[in-house]
């Protein structure tokens, strides 16, 4: 793991000192060692703050979407994991990001740890998370510690990941990790939800969306939600989504996000991790991708040549009445 970190620093330093990028986006340690946050590095002297470990969950490609770069025409270096690279490919498919202005460092990934799962084990604050082999050690502020097996802490979409290596990268931070031979997607825990009755589903959704505060974190954290600053969720004309905050309108709010990223969203889970009230958004987005795969054999963001599913059609699409 640390050799990937060293390689990221080396590649970033080279790109910055050669003047190929204005800034380089990677990950760094947050305010204490239990957090990893996005890092924006402007000079080769600062690359030592870049880190790589299984807490580096942020999908940094969201900082490439329109109106995010500062200045707007900046040339940007960016680190991507396998899933992140798929959102980048989705952006490139529609030319929403200028290929010429980005330098992509791909980081082969062994899976990302769900920090919230650790947090829930303690009433106290977790201030340190460290990794040794497959053992994860968490320490609280009061000094209590607990060990976990890394495999138990991985995000659902990491457990079922078929693309651990970046799809699109200018340079790699390590040799590709072994990939599953069978690339048939797996859909993880959504089956449990699928099995519920309509009334049970409705109740579960109501419970989850009742707490939504409409902070737009899901939409702004999403790399492929590109009209983020002009979102119809905020519009009063059309008034597709009511501004009244209640369960139904909150679900409608999320439906806008979901249907508008269909065909571009590879279920990277950025929205889910950004949600401050922990609404299980991955359920909806993975279900959507499952159905898309079933309908069209389509997986978002796995080919630069392909168009997103809803920007094209086939005369003989195998569904609907003829």
């Amino acid at each position: 793991m640390s050799d990937r970190q060293a390689k990221i620093r080396e590649l970033a330093a080279a790109a910055l000192s050669e003047g190929r990028v204005d800034y380089f986006i990677g990950w760094k340690q947050g305010f204490n060692p239990s957090e990893v946050i996005p890092a924006f590095v402007r000079s080769a002297d600062e690359v030592d703050e870049l880190v790589w470990n299984p807490l580096a969950h942020h999908n940094l490609t969201t900082f490439l979407k329109r109106k995010m770069p500062d200045p707007p025409n900046a040339r940007i270096g960016v680190c991507v994991k396998g899933c992140d690279s798929r959102t980048l490919v989705a952006l490139l498919q529609e030319e929403l990001v200028d290929k010429e202005r980005i330098y992509v460092v791909g980081v082969p990934c062994d899976g990302i740890v769900n920090r919230r799962r650790i947090e829930k084990e303690f009433p106290d604050e977790v201030v340190d998370i460290s990794f040794a082999g497959d053992t994860v050690t968490a320490v609280t502020r009061a000094g209590d510690s607990m060990e976990f097996a890394k495999g138990d802490l991985l995000f659902d979409h990491c457990n079922t990941c078929r693309y651990p290596n970046p799809f699109y990268a200018d340079d790699l931070a390590a040799d590709p990790v072994p990939e599953p031979e069978d690339r048939t997607p797996m859909w993880g825990s959504i089956e449990e939800f699928e099995a519920l009755s309509p009334a049970e589903k409705d109740a579960k959704l109501a419970e989850a969306f009742e707490t939504c505060i409409r902070c737009f974190a899901c939409i702004h954290a999403c790399p492929v939600c590109v009209c983020w600053d002009q979102c119809v969720n905020r519009s009063r004309r059309p008034a597709l989504v009511g501004q009244r905050v209640d369960t139904k309108e909150n679900l409608m709010f999320q439906m806008v996000h979901m249907f508008h990223v269909a065909g571009r969203c590879p279920s990277c889970g950025a929205c889910d991790r950004a949600c401050p009230v922990e609404i299980p958004l991955y359920l909806l987005h993975r279900k959507m991708n499952k159905e898309l795969y079933d309908m069209l054999g389509f997986e978002p963001g796995v080919s630069l040549e392909e168009k997103p599913a809803f920007q094209t059609f086939k005369l003989d699409d195998p569904f609907g009445e003829h």
Partner: protein, 387 residues
């Protein structure tokens, strides 16, 4: 000082619920702790220090209807929009029909508008002193302080609300209440304060509303040992909160640094969502919109925030805070410069929620230690990492 035994807690809440709605931090099935209306038998979560959201929602509603109105059709106008099978006025052209309907709605309708202000008595139980202090800071804005307007919606709920806070035993590393003049055992805005001691809680009251809760028969007088224990808990808690930045001079420095390029650097990882403002116990900005269905409408106010990219966008398309870093600057400057200038107080109680819930963990302490301190002209890029 009174003492409430742990096994009397449910009875105490039940007693409070007899007269008003009780709101308390409750852990959901998904492990998320939020303030929710309490019902008998529900376990109150006091071990997790801070609920995910502050309790402000129960006084300053996330969305609140403040005006209802209705257009009632009369005579000829009613005939135009009559949806019975035999409309009395037949208009074939859909565009014309639509125009006639529109005209009917606005032209000949009787408009009835009625104000709405619903404020049942409630007790917010189990909030922390920083949350209570957040209300005090919002009071300035909504309470007509300093010659401004008096907000009847906020104040109706505020006056009907009793705040029963619990001393923070185990402040988090993100807590910085003492930096901004608060304390883990602060009493600003607190009607009654509970402090966890062995076997229960000591109870202190600081207002008439607070004294009203002493009517519960299960309260005992606190022993000297319990009182001393509570003092120790408080002292230890205070010692565990670090001073995060130097408050002196922040306002002047923010003013001096307003055009500093450091704002761009700090805002780089901001995704411009509104999480920090919505979990904040004292961010109070809002939007006003009209919602109308079938001639019946409501004017509602909804939380809004300065990170919303269209928050300041004008009809012409001109946006004074078009750039992300300008919106970012507004939040921190508002809390530590704009608001203090108007109300001579701070708009931050140091709960640290904005740090822990920010999707990219933007740290208000870092922002203030960088931008609230003197900056050299043409300062280099900010990389300040909070210790």
């Amino acid at each position: 000082m009174k003492f409430l035994a742990q096994d009397q807690l449910q009875a105490f809440l039940g007693h409070l619920a007899g007269e008003s709605r009780v709101v308390a931090p409750v852990k959901g099935d998904d492990g998320v702790v939020l303030f929710r209306p309490w019902s008998p038998g529900t376990e109150v979560e006091l071990d997790v220090l801070l609920a995910k959201q502050s309790a402000k929602e129960f006084v300053f509603r996330q969305s609140e209807t403040y005006l209802r109105y209705g257009y009632a059709m009369e005579g000829e106008a009613a005939a135009v929009v009559d949806d019975s099978h035999e409309a009395k006025i037949a208009i074939d052209d859909p565009a014309e029909l639509r125009a006639a309907q529109d005209a009917a709605v606005t032209a000949h309708a009787t408009l009835v508008a009625e104000p709405v202000n619903d404020a049942p008595a409630q007790v917010i139980f189990g909030l922390r002193p920083c949350d209570a202090r957040g209300f005090v800071q919002m009071d300035n804005v909504f309470g007509g302080y300093g010659g401004f307007y008096f907000d009847p919606y906020y104040n109706a709920k505020r006056e009907a609300t009793t705040l029963i806070a619990v001393t923070c035993r185990d402040p988090r590393s993100t807590c910085f209440c003492t930096t901004v003049g608060g304390s883990p055992d602060g009493t600003d805005g607190v009607d009654a304060l509970l402090t966890q001691v062995e076997g229960g809680y000591t109870v202190e009251t600081f207002s008439e509303k607070g004294e009203a809760v002493l009517g519960f028969s299960g309260l005992a007088d606190a022993s000297t040992a319990q009182t001393l224990y509570a003092e120790t808990v408080k002292e230890q808690a205070v010692a565990r909160v670090d001073i995060a930045f130097e408050l002196e001079g922040v306002r002047e420095n923010l003013r001096a640094n307003i055009e500093d390029p450091g704002w761009h650097e700090l805002a780089m990882r901001c995704i411009s969502c509104g999480t920090c403002t919505y979990v904040c116990p004292n961010c109070y900005c809002f939007n006003i919109t009209d919602e109308m269905v079938e001639g019946q409408g409501e004017r509602i106010r909804t939380w809004d925030n300065c990170f919303n990219p269209i928050y300041t966008m004008e009809t012409s398309g001109h946006n004074p805070r078009e750039v992300k870093s300008n919106r970012f600057r507004n939040r921190f400057s508002h809390k530590f410069w704009y608001y203090p200038e108007k109300y001579d107080s701070l708009l931050c109680s140091g709960c640290g929620r904005c740090i822990t819930h920010c999707p990219t963990r933007i740290d208000i302490r870092e922002v203030l230690s960088v931008m609230g301190a003197p900056r050299a002209a043409a300062a280099p890029a900010a990389t300040g990492e909070e210790a």
